[in-house]
Symmetry: C2
DNA sequence: GTAGTTGCAAATCTTTTGCGCGACA
DNA sequence: TGTCGCGCAAAAGATTTGCAACTAC
């Protein structure tokens, strides 16, 4: 993949950012310095950088909201292939607690997802 | 909050579902049995059920995608108030590993978010 | 020239909102 | 009659796609 001023600017803005910006936020930030930049380029570039492994999506999860009526303590298996989410139970993970010192952040809970490929996708696709 | 056939149907469909459906998926499922149901009602009802604590969003995170160029092993503090995401580092959490037996699911990694209120929001708002 | 990249505009999808209607106390 | 919840349609956002122009080899 070739290095272009746009891609450079996007990657550098992301390296400098402390706040895990959304594509739109990133776009507005860079647009000040580089007014010709388009939002579509930001989206395309972020996809490419993700594919290269240079950046990551900050939150695991699906594109769209998903709901759960299971209120027991449990964790989620998230399939990167099909986007499926499965519940699972694990005593060891239940015991994981937020650290005590978080410099002002008041923890209310902790959420754990195991990311990988579900049985179906692991079997079917290479 | 009053109990209506629509709300009943949505809540029950969610209790029966194993797959953490999206609002749209849920709508299509229930719509077969209750053709008058509208998607807007599904959205409104899911919001209400969330507020009551009867259901949860399956994935922590913001409405929109957020990116991160920090590839070091780290975890996220997610503020429920302002939606902010902050990095933090914690050896104990680094050591948390996916369980071995996951009935066919092939784990590739584990993602941990501490949910709560950031210093700013904890101070400012009640 | 060719391949790859950009910006624009349109299209698509998801989610939210405004509003009139009907149910029910 | 007043309140609440519903469905519909429009609106608002977020993301993707098609395409013509441009650049760098």
């Amino acid at each position: 993949m070739s290095v272009t001023p746009q891609r450079m600017a996007i990657y550098r803005a992301l390296l400098e950012a402390e706040d895990h910006p959304s594509p739109d936020t990133l776009y507005r930030r860079i647009h000040r310095k580089m007014p010709s930049l388009s939002l579509a380029t930001v989206y395309k570039t972020l996809d490419a950088l993700c594919a290269l492994g240079l950046v990551q999506e900050a939150s695991v999860g699906s594109e769209t909201k998903r709901y759960d009526a299971n209120l027991e303590r449990h964790h989620h298996l998230v399939c990167t292939e099909c986007g499926g989410i499965m519940d699972f139970y694990d005593r060891a993970l239940d015991a994981v607690a937020p650290p005590r010192r978080l410099s002002g952040f008041v923890a209310q809970g902790i959420s754990i997802q195991v990311v990988g490929r579900c049985a179906e996708c692991a079997r079917t696709r290479s």
